[in-house]
Structure formats: C-alpha cells, structure tokens
Amino acid sequence: MIRAFHIYKYYKGNISALSDINLKIEKGSFTFITGHSGAGKSTLLKLIYLREFPSSGQLLIEDKNTLQLSRVELETLRRHIGVVFQDFKLVPYLNVYENVALPLYINKEPNFRIRQRVFSALDYVGLAHKTEKFPPQLSGGEQQRIGIARAIVKNPTLLVADEPTGNLDYDRAIEIMDMLVDMNTRGTTVIVATHNIDIIKRYNRRVLHLRDGRIEEK
C-alpha cells in the first residue's frame, strides 16, 4: 500500500523534519505513528495524504511515486484517501449533510448516490438526525464524528487520521478510535498519528515511533 525509501523532508531555513525514513505499510493494516511534538508525525502524514511532497527519496502510494504524479493522477489518488484532522476542518457555513457530501460533490457522484452514502456514513457515526445542524452548533466529539463520516463517505482505501482524539476527552476519544478500528476490520488501511500512550496501549497495533524525524519501530 505505502512504501517509503530514504525520505527526507526539509523546510525553508534548512530545517529538517524527516530524515532517512524507510517504511512499508501493508494493505488492510492498522498503524499508529507516535512521537513527541515536533518529532515529524504530522509531516509524515502530510506526505502520505499528499498535502506535501518529499524533498528527496521515494514515496510510493498504491505503487505510484508521489513525486511523479500528474495533476490528474494526484487528484485521483487523493480521492482514494480519507483524512481525519485534529481540528476537524469542517466548513462552518455548510450544514452536516453538505460537509459530509463534500467529497462526493467533488467526485461528481449522482445525487441519489450522494444522498444514500451520506446517510449511510452519518448513520455509521450516529449523527443521521443532525443533518441540518451547522458545525458550530455541535460538540467537539460530534464534529470529529462528522469529520470521520466525511472521510469514510467515499469508501477510501486508505484512512489517515492526524491526532483525531487530540481535542477530545478520553470517552469521546475511545468512541472515535473504535470507529477507526472498525473501519480497519472492514478492509480499510488505517494510519493514526497520536501521542496518547493510553490509546496506543489499549488497541495494541503496530507502532512507528518517530524521534527527531527518524523512525524507531516498536
């Protein structure tokens, strides 16, 4: 699913974020990426969900080198990746239904399928009764569940979550993590970045530990 060979990532000012990253993530696996703040978790995830690109090295997603993608290939690959953000990134003036439907509008799906899939995704996260609400009217946990619904509504092959429980209390965090694990049991490859040790211990999955931009597998 994902293979990385000697990946380096630098930012302006020659700041090194990732150094010599080599990894292989199998299709259908569940992987935690952990490490202290500034260790490079978010940078690595940004490379995986194609928000940024490596400064050097090769990153293959679904056997495609991310540095050699055309604009159309990039758009197509992004449509196969679901992303859950720590700060939810919901569009505040769109209601719950429209926020979840956003990826399907972009995929140019027919209206009947959009409706079907949005309700199915909202049902899955238990918020089918709140379609008309706007994000500011929802609690943090509910907003994150909407974020998950938006990520899974297009049936992604890869689900990437960047600190999905960072802004939630423990109970809400467990609810969200249960959903991500459930998605994994349905065949979706899931990668979660978190520094919450309790959650990592609770779910007992593969853990990639990042320290100063380098991977230490546990």
Partner: protein, 303 residues
C-alpha cells in the same frame, strides 16, 4: 445539487466578505461609468461630424461643352459609388433657370446660350460610411473621366471627420485595454483580500479531497461575476442617467436655426462590449490568482 452547492459557497462568501466586495463593486461601477460615458461622448462627436459632412454636400463641376457620352460615364461612376447617399445632375439650362429664380432676373429678352457659359454639375451628398480611402478612390476614378473638371467640398471638415474616425478606433482599443487591466486586477485583488484563513482552509480541504482546479475556482468565479454584475449595473445606471441629462445640453449647444443635431444615446453594442470585457478579464483575474495561490500552498514552506 452540485451546482447548488457551488452557488451556496459563492453566495455565503459574497456576504461574508461584503466589505471588500462592496469596495470592488464601487471600483467596477466607476470604471464602467467612465467607459460608457466616454464612448457616449465619442459617439456624439463622430455623429456631429458626420452630420456636418452630410449637410455640406459636394459639387462636381464638369468641363463646359462636355459630350453626353462623357457625362454618362461620370454619371455611372457617381451612381456606382457606395459612399454617396444621393446625387442630382444639374444641366446648364437648369442652373441658369435656378439662377434666374434665385436672383429674380428677367433674362427672357437676352439671347444667352447657357451651355456655352455655364458648366453642368452634379450635386452629391456623401453617406456616413465615407472614409479617406473611399474618398481618394472616388477622386481617382473621377480624374480618369474626360468630363470631370473639379470637385468642390469643404476639405477641412472632411479631413477632420477622417481624423476623428481614425482616432476613435485607437481610443476604443486603449479604453478596452484599460478596462481589461482594471477588471483583471480589481477581481484578482478582491479575491486576494477575501482569502482569509477560513477560505484558505476551505481551498486546502477541497484540494485534499481530490478537487480539481474548477472545484476550487467556481465559487470564486461566481463571486467575481456577482461583483462585476452589480458594479456594472450601477455604472450603467449612472451613465444612462448622466447621458439623459446631457442629451438636451449637447442638443442645444450643437444646434442652430438652420442646423439641428440629435445626440445619440449610449449604444447597446458598447454596453455589451464593455460588460463582456469586464467579465472575461475578471474571470482570468480570478483563475490566475487561485492557480498561483494553490501553487503557493506547496511552495510556501517546503524546499
């Protein structure tokens, strides 16, 4: 559904950024007003000169004792000339009779043969389509004709009309270029100002969800069109009102007891041309800005 979604994004953001959009609407309105009003003045200047030419008909004087065949050749040339609206042949006898009538002369007892002392003439009236090329071509053909002696016309007015028409084309081109640049930068800057953090995140989100350039641009293009549409509407309303107020003034200044001039209103073709230019260049302004913005998303920090 998808279309409604784009329209909603444009509509909501238009009102969220109403302060920036309002100042852009005023800018577009001012630019549209000046463009329309300048063209209104220009059209009336050209119309006035055309009226002067049309009122100052030319006289083509034939050689005395020209043969009927030569007169016919000249007649055919005049008849075939597109830039002549109407013409009249005046024979020496008719001219003599008109002179007698005009000056109340009694020449009945005098033995005069008008053909020997007066030339025949053609009185011609040029059409509005006359330009310097057509006039010179016509003059060349007249010179090739045996019966032709000279043409009498107010050359100052004719040359003035040619100059004004020539300069009016340059003026229009320059005006349209200024409009293109203004509209391009007004919309480009408006969208730039409207790209606050929320909207930057929205663009980033649509990008990450696999949206293509159009998915990102359409709401901004619609928002830009709304700014242009309202701004142009305001500019047009003010320009038309101004033109209505100006028409009696122009009419009274440029008319006398023997000469009347009816000013023309702002032409529909100018309205359509200016609106199209504003929309097209505004469209490219938005498209270019968003493309640069998306490129910047990846280049701002990374190396």
């Amino acid at each position: 559904m998808r279309e409604a979604f784009f329209i909603k994004r444009a509509y909501v953001n238009f009102f969220r950024n109403r302060h920036n959009n309002f100042s852009s609407i005023i800018n577009v309105a001012v630019v549209s007003f000046f463009a329309l009003f300048l063209l209104f003045i220009l059209e009336n200047a050209i119309g006035f000169v055309e009226k002067l030419i049309s009122n100052n008909s030319a006289i083509i004087i034939l050689k005395v004792n020209s043969s009927p065949d030569d007169e016919k050749v000249l007649n055919d040339i005049i008849q075939g000339e597109k830039s002549i609206e109407s013409f009249r042949f005046i024979s020496p006898k008719e001219a003599f009779s008109e002179l007698n009538t005009a000056f109340s002369l009694n020449t009945g007892s005098i033995d005069i043969e008008p053909e020997k002392i007066l030339p025949a003439v053609f009185e011609i009236r040029f059409s509005k389509s006359l330009n310097s090329e057509a006039y010179n071509r016509f003059l060349k053909r007249l010179n090739e004709c045996n019966a032709f002696k000279e043409i009498r016309i107010n050359m100052d007015i004719l040359e003035m009309s040619f100059k004004i028409k020539r300069y009016s084309i340059f003026f229009r081109i320059i005006l349209y270029i200024i409009l293109c640049i203004s509209s391009f930068y007004i919309l480009s800057n408006t969208i730039g100002l409207n790209l606050n953090n929320n909207r930057r995140e929205e663009i980033e989100l649509v990008e990450l969800l696999g949206g293509d350039y159009m998915d990102i641009r359409i709401p901004y293009i619609l928002e830009g069109l709304l700014v242009i549409g309202i701004g142009f509407g305001l500019g047009l309303a003010v320009a038309v009102s101004g033109a209505y107020l100006f028409i009696p003034v122009i009419s009274s200044v440029l008319s006398s007891k023997v000469f009347s001039f009816s000013p023309v209103m702002i032409r529909e073709i100018d309205v359509i041309a200016i609106f199209s230019i504003l929309v097209l260049s505004g469209f490219f302004g938005v498209v270019r800005f968003i493309r640069r913005f998306i490129r910047g998303l990846y280049e701002e920090n990374s190396i």
